[in-house]
């Protein structure tokens, strides 16, 4: 197992700064999620770790050794691709065995290791099938087995769940987390899905425009976003922003409550004009305005609201976050 350090990593494609100065440290056995919208540089950052791209500047360190000029195969890194990238002309067995065959291990050892990895992932009965004969979820397991069979120092995963349908994706997520904890391999996981990031990550690094905007445990990322980008990207619906007295006031839709339901704690009050109410089964969303600014409240079903009316709403003051009007960076107040 291993730790990974990124020091001032930059990557330019022509005039575009895909990765623009990233410092990160991934601990031994940690599950780090790189989260960001498309074009934020998260996949490029992962490809840099893999050695499929060369950094324009900066140092990549694995286990204390600078590996900038080490080719992918000698870095001890394995990767699970978004499309799984199984070799379509090889059986499942030969797919998983490929990294070992390349290493030149003898046949009995290869068979032992492949069967071990396949058993771990519950795909032992598929070994003689071709990739075209197994389901999406099974392909994903084969791809993971192929990545793990060599006992890599670091496991990289590029949106491995995005090709699965919604139902399977949820179970796969739970299993993936359980699995990673069992074998304890250092993992870097790229996704644009915040639910995945929240559920899987020991820590999350939120990226945008080639930079890491915030890194922290999922709770911190959600409750204490470092700037308006992170606050607006995380959460569904995202954080509400209202400008007051020259600062941006931010609060999550689920802490924005009718004043009469609020506790006796210190409250920040708003006048909320409801324009539309959306019933979503277990909860409802109220769309409306504070002054001119659109905001959303996430409420329990029993809260009575009428479209077109104005209400007194409030937020516990300790749930309110303040951001700088120009830079969007969090300020304490």
């Amino acid at each position: 197992m291993a730790f990974v350090q990124l020091r001032g990593i930059k990557k330019q494609f022509g005039a575009v700064n895909a990765v623009d100065g990233v410092d990160l440290e991934i601990k031994d056995g940690e599950f780090l999620v790189l989260l960001g919208p498309s074009g934020s540089g998260k996949t490029t950052l992962m490809r840099l770790c893999a050695g499929l791209e060369k950094p324009t500047a900066g140092e990549l360190v694995i286990d204390g050794e600078v590996v900038n000029d080490v080719p992918p195969r000698e870095r001890g890194i394995a990767m699970v691709f978004q499309s799984y990238a199984l070799y379509p002309h090889k059986t499942v067995f030969k797919n998983i065995a490929f990294p070992l065959t390349v290493e030149g291990l003898d046949k009995s050892e290869i068979r032992y290791k492949v069967e071990l990895a396949a058993g771990l992932l519950g795909i032992g009965r598929l070994l003689e099938r071709m990739p075209s004969q197994i389901s999406g979820g099974e392909k994903q397991r084969v791809a993971i087995a192929r990545a793990l069979v060599r006992k890599p120092k670091v496991l990289l995963m590029d949106e491995p769940l995005s090709n699965l349908d919604a139902k399977v994706r949820h179970t796969a997520r739970v299993e993936l987390k359980k699995f990673q904890q069992e074998i304890g391999v250092t993992t870097i996981y790229v996704t644009h899905d915040q639910a995945e990031a929240m559920g899987l990550g020991d820590r999350i690094a939120v990226m945008s425009e080639g930079r890491v905007r915030q890194i922290g445990i999922p709770e911190d990322i959600y409750h204490d976003p470092a700037d308006t980008f992170v606050a607006g990207f995380i959460g569904n619906p995202p954080m509400n922003f209202v400008e007051q007295n020259g600062v941006i006031v931010g609060f999550r839709p689920e802490v924005f409550l009718p004043a009469e339901l609020a506790s006796t704690e210190d409250q920040t009050k708003f006048r909320f004009k409801v324009t539309r109410v959306e019933n979503l089964g277990s909860f409802k969303l109220a769309y409306g305005t504070i002054g001119e600014t659109g905001v959303i409240a996430n409420l329990q079903l029993r809260v009575p609201l009428e479209e077109g009316r104005e209400y007194d709403f409030s937020v516990r003051s300790k749930d309110v976050r303040y951001y700088h009007r120009e830079t969007g960076v969090r300020i304490t107040k």
């Binding site: 195969r73 978004q82 990238a85 199984l86 070799y87 002309h89 390349v102 192929r146």
Partner: protein
């Protein structure tokens, strides 16, 4: 109200109508000559003799007994196998090259594609001068660097190599010109095949620790197999049935028949010699060979695609 159906909206009208031009083309320009040559090959028809009699397999037994036919068959096989192999290797190299980015790529691509756009006879005439027994620029070059034309020179003391005048060199020359001619087609087919291999699969192999040759033989070539099969098929058809290059450069010579191939022999016998029946019998000989090859290759390709 029932929507009014146009005459051309009816499938029973439109479908045959759309297929008709292709059908007509095949019947008139492929089917008819094929049937004609088959009928000729079992007849006694000649240019000068209008009486027409079916003589059975007589023409076939005659050509099989003819040593010129056997030489031509042997030459055709050599010509085809060597040309196809060379086309495959060089087309693969060119395709690898053209898939990379480099300065002046458009120019290289343009130059590589050029032979395909020029009429084949024109290109071959150009080579005729290149390989001329007295004025060959290749010989000039060899003489200039001292490989030819001096006592003790590597390629001999004569002033020229006589490219088209010596049996082995003549065959080599014909293969060279034909490969030059087929290379663009092979390159284009292989480029499209290589583009269709997902980048992630190649990268996965890289991550799995496979070096260049391991990736080439274990990943790329197996995935390219269907495309390579098609390339072999096309290259074989174009080579086996080609006579332009041979006819322009050597006319089957040097004497007696050093570069005679089946296509040129059929032409020589049937048209120049006027013996339509025997010419047709020689030409018909292509059919089982090429059809058999096509069936084998297409079956293998299909199997490779399914799995």
């Amino acid at each position: 109200m029932k929507p009014k159906k146009h005459f051309f909206d009816r499938e029973t009208v439109l479908a045959p109508l759309l297929v008709l031009p292709a059908g007509l083309y095949i019947v008139l320009f492929v089917g008819f000559p094929f049937v004609m040559s088959f009928v000729y090959s079992i007849s006694n028809v000649t240019v000068g003799n209008p009486n027409f009699k079916i003589v059975g397999l007589q023409n076939f037994t005659a050509i099989l007994a003819d040593p010129v036919f056997r030489t031509s068959l042997f030459n055709t096989v050599i010509f085809t196998v060597v040309s196809v192999l060379l086309v495959l290797v060089f087309a693969h190299i060119l395709a690898e090259l053209l898939l990379r980015d480099f300065r002046g790529k458009w120019l290289v691509r343009f130059l590589i594609m050029l032979p395909w756009t020029a009429p084949i006879a024109l290109g071959a005439v150009g080579f005729l001068w290149f390989l001329d027994s007295v004025f060959s620029p290749i010989d000039w070059l060899l003489r200039d660097v001292g490989l030819l034309g001096k006592p003790g020179a590597l390629l001999g003391p004569a002033s020229n190599l006589y490219w088209l005048g010596r049996p082995v060199l003549a065959m080599a020359s014909i293969i060279l010109v034909h490969v030059w001619r087929l290379l663009p087609l092979g390159t284009v087919i292989l480029i499209s095949g290589m583009n269709s291999i997902p980048k992630e699969i190649v990268e996965a192999a890289q991550m799995d620790g496979a070096g260049y040759f391991r990736r080439l033989f274990d990943i790329n070539l197996p995935l390219l197999f269907p495309v390579i099969g098609v390339t072999i098929l096309f290259a074989t058809f174009f080579t086996f049935t080609d006579m332009t290059v041979v006819w322009v450069l050597t006319r089957g010579g040097p004497p007696p028949n050093a570069t005679q191939v089946l296509a040129s022999l059929a032409f020589l016998t049937g048209i120049e010699g006027g013996d339509l029946a025997q010419g047709a019998a020689i030409a018909i000989f292509f059919f089982p060979v090429l059809a058999g090859l096509a069936i084998i290759v297409l079956r293998l390709v299909k199997k490779a695609i399914v799995t």
